[in-house]
Amino acid sequence: MSSASGFHRRLLALTRKEVRQLLRDKSNLFVGLLLPLALILLFGYGLSFDVKDAPVAIVLEDRSPAAQEAVAGIGGSPYLVPVAAANMDEAVRLIRAHKVEAIVRVPVDFSQRRAAGDARIQLIVNGADSTTASAIEGYVNGGIQTASRHIMDRSGSGSGGGITLVQRTWFNEAGVSTWYLVPGLLVLVMTLIGAFLTSLLIAREWERGTLESLFVTPVRPLELVLSKLAPYVVIGAIDMVMCLLAARFLFEVPIRGSLIVIIFASLLYLIVALLLGLFISGTTRNQFAASQMALLASFMPAMMLSGFVFDLRNVPLVIQIVSQLLPATHFMELVKSLFLAGTIWPMVLKNCAILAAYGVLLAFVTGRTLRKRLD
């Protein structure tokens, strides 16, 4: 019997076994198919940086029409909801009780100072939630400046001109945070499937003793690795399709790059994640340790350090180095660009090459953990 056909035959037999085990153990299917679905829905709908209907307390210590005009813009903003407060004490009570996110206070001498050209309004934001606070500051500023421009136009006074900023945002014109979170979802789901599902696979065989019996057959480590990858690539592919469908039709994120490239890159990353999981499984040989490592070493970093939510340009150099070591970071960059920007070939080729290199490295070391030796 030639060794090539032996290879195929054994690979087929092992893959058949893996598939059967997968299908008959419901918990694996659960994690493989249901959890990603739940994540897609939770993420897409639950995570958002976009502030809307933020209540803002308005304290008018000067009740003149001028003052009221000044803060009228706040009511006009779609992002803010003005809440009238009788005085600062009440406003402070509201903000401490988290009933309002900010206080806009028009001081007693507002009209006088405005006449002098030096009008001031005080804005107090709750810094405990800095992102919301910054956003609110932006919206309040916008609201007040709009009002002041109207005032100027009407009165025809003041210096015309001044510098204005014309802002154009590429790739995400509306600045909808979902657009940039949902592509990241693809990364997280692939990482989840890869690292966590497979991390238990080999460790379980070690703990149950099935590997010892397998070793004393003509089976080769490569066949073991490939057979374990196969069914999970399929599951991962199903999840990938779910993510893409959800992104396109549920969350209406545009897919501007080539779909084929996205699919290819996703499969590539999936294989890398699966191999990472297998590697963890093969080295720890212990289900408890394997799952802990999978969680801590692959999923958390993917969530926090891959550029998913936190922009990597703003982190210290050390962290940037760490994040560059993660395959997830490269895939994240790929995905965001492919969805929102289009197919930018130099970047695509660079990141795919890096992922491929990771794949080869991991395949090699995983194979080594399955060397047919017990010591």
Partner: protein, 372 residues
């Protein structure tokens, strides 16, 4: 219960607590897993998790080449945040630079900029942002807007209204101050959930759980005996992170430590309750781990750690009422940053206590009634 019986009951339970702590401490694998990740993650995420702008590379096309534009750009560079990456000759070159991610934004100053300013007309400047990370883009735009407005004011054309911003609790609106206190709750939650979820399942697989059930210890005692060490571990982890935040990152603590720890105990107890219920429900360690994982992901995502709860749709906000992490994070932020007193956070305690009150007895019931 008569005094003597009570003492006996306590002594028995204490024997179990002591054993659990010893087993925890003496397991070499445990020692690293329990404390090193908390430490590492607190540092890594403390530095890595930031929405603040520290490094914004930009490209500029300055077709006016006048004093005003140079001054404006100098101000930009002077912040230390904006770094001029390249000066381009024409707008056409902007595309590639943004596409490749080399710059986050490009500023295009038209040739008649100087002239318009002198004459008193509106002088527009165009900025083009990479929206692939919309928060950063928005923040950068906001900051540039402020600098431009400042400059405009200095030239004499002042807008009639100045908005003075004061940020309570976090004067510089550093995102780290928002994120890190949440970590006190979140990171320890993750670990204690895992630990307590595995505790009973592991004993079942090793065969020592039967031995426990055969002793006169009743389920309540077993529950307390196992819950206390897990709670302790959770508290220690929270403390480690607290220390790092307080002394390494120097974020001031404005509330009462007593209240904070009271809250943490309640919060950790709720987490342990969930973990133990999973553990008692699972027949193998593998099941326990899978269920835990299934639960942890949604719990962490919908907790307000990364994104505010108030931005979620109503349905999801309702769901978060059973998530102790949500209230833990809220409570820690309030106490740590806002210096809240008990009255302020009383509402946070209720859901956490409810979760603990339901899951802990459930776990005890399951010990005996979930049989292989």
């Amino acid at each position: 219960m008569p005094m003597a019986d009570l003492i006996a009951w306590l002594a028995q339970t204490f024997a179990l607590v002591r054993k659990e702590i010893l087993a925890l401490v003496k397991d070499p694998a445990n020692r690293t897993i329990l404390f090193a990740p908390a430490l590492m993650q607190a540092l890594l995420f403390g530095y890595g998790a930031t929405y603040d702008l520290t490094h914004v590379p930009y490209a500029v096309v300055d077709q006016s080449q006048g004093a005003a534009s140079t001054e404006l750009l100098a101000r930009l560079d002077g912040t230390g945040v904006f770094r001029r990456e390249t000066t381009l000759a024409s707008n056409a070159q902007i595309g590639d630079l943004i596409d490749s991610g080399k710059v986050l934004l490009a500023i295009s100053i038209p040739s008649d900029f100087e002239h318009r300013l002198t004459v008193g007309d509106t002088a527009p400047i165009q900025i083009i942002l990479d929206g692939r990370n919309s928060s950063t883009a928005g923040a950068a735009a906001g900051q540039i807007g402020a600098i431009v407005a400042d400059y405009g004011r200095s030239l004499g054309g002042s807008p009639p209204i100045t908005v003075e911003r004061r940020a309570w609790y976090n004067p510089n609106l550093e995102s780290r101050w928002t994120l890190m206190p949440a970590m006190i709750a979140a990171l320890s939650f993750l670990q204690t959930l895992l630990l307590s979820a595995l505790s009973v399942a592991r004993e079942r697989e090793q065969g020592t759980f039967d031995q426990l059930l055969v002793t006169p210890l009743n389920p309540m005692q077993i529950l307390i005996g196992k819950a206390i060490p897990s709670i302790l571990v959770g508290l220690i982890q929270s403390t480690i992170i607290l220390l790092i935040i307080r002394f390494w990152f120097q974020i001031p603590m404005n509330g009462s430590y007593w209240l904070l720890y009271l809250g943490l105990v309640t919060f950790t107890a709720a987490g342990v309750g969930i973990g133990m219920s999973i553990s008692a429900l699972s027949l193998t360690m593998q099941q326990a781990m899978l269920y835990t994982f299934l639960l942890v992901m949604p719990l962490m995502l919908l907790s307000g750690m990364l994104t505010p709860v108030r931005n979620m749709p109503q349905i999801l906000q309702l769901l978060t009422y059973v998530n102790p992490l949500r209230f833990g994070i809220d409570m820690v932020r309030r106490i740590y940053l806002e210096g809240a007193v008990f009255a302020d956070v009383a509402l946070d305690f209720i859901p956490m206590l409810a979760v603990a009150a339901i899951t802990l007895p459930l776990a005890a019931w399951l010990f005996r009634n979930r049989l292989a």
